[in-house]
């Protein structure tokens, strides 16, 4: 049995999407046991719409809901909110494996650090989405926004965390790690990048292939791209904007003439497939890496399918033994373990 918490009130479409997604996930994976935190009456009203194994879905009443506009540090004090109550359960109950939320990113990060806590030796957790690449696989981008400012030790730890995630979550045997930089040559970038390059070159437990550029994320030149949360966020959002522009241009072009409309009839399946591939929000959320248990941050606009994928991703990460993989890599690495500042 794999017990996973779902923040039923998190996201723009909650509790409809979270409940529907939870039901989809539990119907697909017979090992799953889901605990939904949220306003019991609302959640139960949604649950009633579907048929599923009642013994594998429970609801815990949390009268409070965190708003996207609430300050994260204030939000974590609200113990009766669906997200924070879930974090406390995740911390206290050994048999609960993971948490999935589509709620406030800030509150998820702060709650993860203050309530659940980091893996011993890890300085900061990082937000890590899996971005589809042109090789048919995914590229993990660590960090994409949890830490706007980074030191080189943090970036080195992101390399390690990403390596563990690639192994545990995607079954990649020897994940190749690249450092996101403004050029591939060794001397490129600011002092932070130059220093980190040196450390990564000497680090045990990772396969560092050198500097990579923004384009390499989607071209799949490596499996793990290490970035500070500021530039990682800019890379992720730039990719998102480009995808949106192209898809809207395609749509306009396909309706621009009679012949293109006819053409579209023949290729609409292909376009649909491509649209799905580009929609990496759907792919299963971003993992908040470095905490004591896996926490998946699903997009705020998550639909039922997105939530179901995020839950499946959380189960997969637990099955792949992410946390032991991180701990093993950490014990081989040179970081000063213990102070955990």
């Amino acid at each position: 049995m794999i017990k996973i918490l779902v923040d039923a009130m998190g996201g723009d479409n909650a509790p409809y999407a979270t409940v529907a997604g939870a039901v989809q996930a539990v119907n697909k994976d017979k090992e799953l046991h889901l605990i939904l935190t949220g306003r019991q009456a609302e959640v139960n009203a949604e649950l009633k719409k579907y048929s599923y194994d009642l013994s594998r879905v429970e609801v815990i009443d949390c009268p409070d809901v965190i708003d996207m506009n609430d300050s994260p540090t204030e939000a974590v004090k609200r113990k009766q909110s669906s997200l924070i109550a879930a974090y406390w359960l995740l911390k206290k109950e050994d048999d609960i494996c993971a948490l999935v939320t589509a709620g406030s990113t800030g509150a998820t990060i702060v709650g993860g650090q203050l309530i659940l806590g980091r893996i011993r030796g890890i300085k900061r957790p990082a937000l890590c989405p899996a971005i589809p690449n042109s090789r048919g696989g995914v590229t993990l981008l660590v960090d994409c926004g949890a830490n706007a400012e980074c030191k080189s030790v943090m970036l080195c730890q992101f390399a390690l965390l990403g390596t563990a995630y690639a192994k545990a979550g995607f079954n990649i045997k020897n994940p190749r790690v690249g450092l996101l930089n403004n050029g591939t040559e060794e001397h490129k970038g600011d002092p932070l990048r130059q220093e980190t390059y040196k450390y990564l070159s000497e680090m045990k437990g990772i396969d560092f292939i050198g500097n990579v550029e923004g384009r390499d994320i989607m071209l799949g030149e490596c499996d793990v791209v290490v970035a500070d949360g500021f530039s990682g966020n800019i890379a992720l959002k730039s990719i998102e904007g480009c995808g949106k522009l192209i898809l809207s241009t395609l749509k306009r072009e396909f309706t621009s003439s009679v012949s293109s409309k006819i053409g579209y009839l023949f290729i609409r399946k292909a376009i649909k497939r491509m649209r799905a591939q580009l929609d990496f929000d759907k792919a299963g959320g971003a993992l908040l890496l470095g905490l004591k248990k896996p926490v998946i941050k699903s997009h705020g606009s998550s639909k039922p399918e997105t939530i179901a994928n995020s839950i499946a991703n959380a189960a997969g990460i637990y099955r792949g033994k992410l946390i032991p993989a991180v701990e093993e890599l950490l014990s081989d690495a040179d970081f000063t373990v213990g102070d955990n500042d």
Copy 2:
């Protein structure tokens, strides 16, 4: 008459592409007079292939060529190279308006600073491409790689330079300026972004709309996006990678079945149009903004059409009176003019 220098030996396809592009440009614009710097015999051999107004194209013999692997600071000492000789001419001859090169970016930037020189009061030149956006216009990204490390005064000057370029090069009356950040809220980002936000809010001569995210570059939320060269480069390259992935996926999807192949016959024109729109290398190069005269850095892999577009862009910028526009904005702004460190 508009006299423009073309580095005939710069780029992967030189002198074929540079000469062919120069001829295209000169045949299109009767006011143009081009001066090609490069190995005279090679350049003349290419020129012989075409018909054009001989009185408007001259060649200056430069036996030396800068390699992409040469160190920029060493390269600028090589006065007989096609790029550096062009810079000396640009500096000395008042009637020469601009320079176009597809050669080494590093040597172009260093040569621009050390030989041509900056506009009085400008701290650092910035590399600025025009990226097509979903509104059918372009978004100017300043800086996309000339300055990996920036201070807030530099970012504020980039806002000013971008505003002048939007006015002079694209006839945008009141260019909207955004600060590239990892979120739109005022408090977002690192201390550099927070400090710059404050300064930009108070700055005269620009229309600052606040923070923008990576996605807003292509969505066209503003006309000028201000970034340090590190994150600007990552945004630009991420967009490039995404575009490449989508176009290769499209190609694969269109050949994946008989019906999609038939469909492609109907929409190939639309796809070709889209491909051209995405290929912003072709659009006319990146302007090295902040120097005493316009310098256009065309992509290293420039084809004749790219070079012709870069030359046309240089002529347009000169006609639009970029340098006076910068000087006017500078005189209104609060920067300490004169030290020019």
